[in-house]
Structure formats: C-alpha cells, structure tokens
C-alpha cells in the first residue's frame, strides 16, 4: 500500500502532465497498432499478388490424344498445392472455349478433321499463387514444349503497394521512437519526484529492487492509462478507419480485418509494459 502511494506521487503533484502523457501515449499506441495491422495484412496480400499468375504449358503436338490429362497430373504432383488450379485442355476443350467468342473459326477448325488437330494448341493451364520456381518445374515436365506466363501482370500496382509498406514501416518506427522518448522523459521527470523518498529508503537499507518499484509502478500507471484509452480509441475509431481504407483499393477490401478487434487488449498490454519498462529505465542508475 505504501509503495502504491509512493508510486502515485507524480499523479498527485502533476496530474495534468501524467494525464496528457497518457493521452499522447494512447494515440501513439493506436496509430502504431494501425500501422502494424496494416503491415501484417498488406504484406501477405502483396506477396500473393506478386506470385499470382497463370501458366499456359503447351503440349508436344505429336503426343497422343488425352496426353494433356496425364501431363496435368504430373504437374499437380510436381507443384503439390491443392490451391493451384491445374487443368488439361485438349482439342475438344479448346474448341469449346473458342466457340462462344469465335464460332466461325471454331467450325472451320473442326471441319478440317484430322488435319485440324495439328492447328489446335493443346495445353495445360496452371493458375493460382505459384511457387517462385513453378515455371521451371512445369517446363521440366515431359511432353511440354513451351510456356506462356502472365507473371508481372500486377507489377505497377505491386510497386505502389510495396512503397506504401515501406512508408508504413518507417512511420511505425518513428511512432515507436516518439512513444519511448516521451515515456522515458516522463519517467525521468517522475524519478525526480521520487528522488527524496528513494534516497531515504536507500539509507534505511532498502534493496535496489525495492527502490525500483515505485518509479516502475509510476510508469506502469501512465502506461496502463494510455493503453486502456488506446483500447477504447481502437475499438471505436478502428472500424471507420478501415471502412475508409477499403474504399481506396480492391486490394484493401480483401484484407482480413475481422480479427483486428483483438488488437485492443494488445494495445493495453503494450502500454502497460512500455510504461513499466521506461519508468524502470529512468531510475536504473539512480536506484543502483
């Protein structure tokens, strides 16, 4: 009880300084959490876009009919992912795909009979988020003569999103630094208020760990106030913020923000830990 009263001394002597620090901390924590969440959500989306492609693997024209199914199975085994769409397209499939848009051409090829077989590009379509070496692996499959790839089709958008990611990382680092500097400065000021009591308790034979408790609790109290306020701001400000973000790009709409509410308690915990740590750090030398 005595220690808690000692810890709350800064709140009694300078209540507004403590309160303003807690409010500043709340906003910094909330913005930091937003950027962190944004980073965690955008990074996999960008990675997905950068690897999302469609490969068209053309089959040796002289290979027997139905070969495309066997080759498709081989590619499926080679790439090994359930999420990748792999489909063999034979003569019939090609003409069916061609007919809706080009019925005349489809009929003409069909009328050529066996001679037309050589004109039809039988192929295997591989679509989805592919591994980096997918193209090489498909090309190595027996019966494949050439490959067309849609790689880099999102190149322009990707560059923009990667720039956004870099900016958000810098901003996050800046916010974290500002938060720690502010808290550390507050801890130093609070340590001055504890100096007399700590000096006396040291003379009474107090252990250094004991001497660190009041400043640490002081920092923790500001951190907890800031963290809890940050949780409230996050809970009420977050949905609107991400609604606005979703309007910017279809990419943002695809992000999973449903679990973002869990960030609220994390903000509170981060505030408590940061407050306690900086309160402690501010007096480490003095209490030793």
């Amino acid at each position: 009880m005595s220690l808690i009263r000692l810890a709350l001394r800064p709140w009694r002597l300078t209540p507004w300084s403590q309160a303003f620090s807690a409010v500043a901390m709340a906003f910094l924590l909330t913005l930091g959490a937003f950027l962190l969440r944004f980073e965690f959500q955008l990074r996999p989306t960008v990675q997905k876009l950068s690897r999302d492609q469609v490969l068209t693997a053309f089959i040796e024209p002289s290979s027997p009919a139905g070969e495309e199914s066997r080759i498709a199975d081989q590619i499926r085994v080679s790439l090994g992912s359930k999420d990748i769409e792999i489909r063999g397209v034979g003569e019939k499939g090609f003409l069916e795909a061609l007919r809706p848009n080009y019925p005349g051409l489809a009929n003409e090829i069909e009328s050529l009979g066996d001679e037309g077989r050589d004109l039809i590009p039988r192929h295997v379509l591989v679509a989805g988020v592919l591994p980096a070496d997918a193209e090489a692996r498909v090309k190595a499959t027996t019966g494949i003569v050439s490959i067309d790839s849609t790689r880099n089709r999102y190149q322009q958008s990707l560059a923009a999103f990667q720039a956004v990611l870099r900016i958000s990382r810098w901003m996050f680092a800046g916010l974290a630094l500002a938060l720690l500097c502010g808290l550390f400065q507050l801890g130093r000021l609070n340590a001055q208020m504890h100096a007399e009591s700590l000096q006396l308790m040291r003379l009474w034979g107090a252990h250094p760990v004991f001497l660190r408790i009041p400043p640490m609790l002081s920092g923790l109290s500001v951190g907890a106030a800031g963290g809890l306020l940050g949780w409230v701001i996050w809970s009420f400000g977050f949905p609107g913020l991400f609604d606005q973000l979703a309007k910017l790009s279809i990419v943002f709409q695809g992000m999973d923000f449903a679990r973002a509410q869990a960030m609220g308690p994390m903000i509170a915990v981060a505030g408590i830990l940061a407050g306690a740590a900086t309160g402690l750090a501010a007096v480490l030398r003095k209490a030793g």
């Binding site: 005595s2 000692l6 009694r12 003379l203 009474w204 034979g205 107090a206 250094p208």
Partner: protein, 248 residues
C-alpha cells in the same frame, strides 16, 4: 512491552563482541570548490556509548552525522561501523549496516505521501520486519504512543507541524530498534514539555545498549543528561570529554 520482541536485523554480533561499534580515523570531508567541512576527525565509540556532538553553526555537526549515517562518504580517512570499513564493504553488507542504523536527519525527510503510521512502518519493514504482521503493527503503535504522536497515526506526514514531524522522525528511527541512533538536532522544534519526554525515551534506549550520537545546540539538554561530548569548531574536534568544562 510489545516492542521488546521486535529486533532489527543485525548480523554483526561477532564484531560487536570485539567492542568497536564506530571508529573514525582522520576523517575529512570537503565539497567541490569549497573549504574542508571536516578536518581529520578521530572518534571511537563502543556499544552502548552516548555522545553529544556540539558546535556552532557551520561547525560540521550535520556533515559528521551524515557520514556516520552512511549518507555520504569521507573525502579522506577511514570510517568503520560494526568493525567494517565502509569504503571496503560490499553493497550487501552496506545494506545490512544501514538496517542497523536509526537516523534522524536535521530536515527530517518524512515521506509526505504516506501517513505517520506508514512512514514508521516502512522504516520497520526495511529493517527486515514485515510491517503488516500483527506484532509489528503493535510495535509501531507503541512507538508512536511513546513519542506522543499515536493519535496522529492516520494523518498524512505533509500535514504535521514541525514538532510533530520531529517526533515522528524519531519514532521512525527508534521503531527499528537500531544498534546506533544518529540524531541531528532531534528536539530543535519541540515544545519544552516534549523535549524531556523524547530525551527520556532516547536515554532509556541507550541504557538498553543502543549507541547514541546526538547533535544539539541545546545546553539545557546537555546539562540535564550528563554524557560525553565532542565539541566541533571549524570542522575539527576541539574538545572531547564529559566534564561540564568541556560540554557546557
């Protein structure tokens, strides 16, 4: 007496048996850019000794007591407590030594955020006793009563008068039943009626073996409680003895 069972932590029994409680050898103290405040002070006290430190303003009384309370270190010379040279002890031993000292600084330094009772209980708990145990609580209450401040136990220390604060500061030092009591002008702000009560309490504790060093400029106290004294002037021990010619 409930307080009799509560003893401060004192790991110095073997050293104490040797007899040397406190030893200053050519101790000097100066602060940066200032003339020496203490000059080659030699003092020796055994367990249960009583010593008045007398001198005018600026004689070095408070500086000497701060050194004895381990609040400051000598610039030169050696200071030993319980047989340990303070410039050679480990932090752990220094903490143990400090737990065996009761110190009443001139400016009292009560913790303003705590109540009277909490100030005293915190001092006791730092001496190694659990301040929330029933026995310790009784001991705190008894000590406050002896100092005539029992009725103020729940009052914040910041709201005490000068005399009340002084009595609480003495209670805070005595509650831990220290091996050494170091008190700097502990009766300076007291009404006359309390001065003799306080001195009685201190004298009784001294009779029970508590080494006592008391700085005062009150000749009446020295006259009534005849004890040895050291007279400081200009940072030097001018005279030492117990005769009225020396002390009065």
């Amino acid at each position: 007496m409930p307080g009799a069972e509560v003893r401060a932590a004192g790991p110095f029994s073997r050293k104490e048996k040797i007899g040397q409680m406190l030893h200053l050898s050519a101790v000097s103290k100066s602060y940066l850019g200032q003339p020496r405040v203490l000059e080659a002070v030699d003092l020796q006290l055994k367990r249960g000794d009583f010593l008045y430190v007398i001198g005018g303003s600026g004689a070095g009384k408070s500086t000497l007591l701060r050194l004895l309370a381990t609040e400051e270190s000598p610039t030169s010379g050696h200071l030993s407590l319980f047989g340990y040279r303070l410039d050679q002890v480990s932090p752990t031993t220094l903490r143990s030594i400090r737990r065996s000292i009761g110190y009443v600084p001139q400016n009292l330094r009560l913790i303003p955020d705590l109540s009277v009772q909490e100030n005293v209980a915190l001092s006791l708990s730092l001496a190694g006793k659990k301040s929330f145990s029933g026995e310790s609580r009784l001991h705190v209450a008894h000590t406050l009563d002896r100092m005539g401040v029992g009725h103020l136990k729940d009052k914040p220390a910041s709201e005490l008068s000068g005399g009340e604060a002084q009595r609480v500061a003495i209670a805070r030092a005595l509650v831990r039943q220290p091996e050494i009591l170091i008190a700097d002008e502990p009766t300076g702000a007291q009404d006359p009626e309390y001065i003799w009560t306080l001195m009685d309490v201190i004298a009784k504790a001294n009779l029970q073996g508590m080494t006592t060093i008391l700085a005062t400029h009150d000749r009446e106290i020295v006259r009534r409680f005849r004890k040895p004294c050291a007279v400081l002037k200009g940072g030097r021990v001018l005279l030492e003895g117990r005769s009225p010619q020396v002390c009065l």
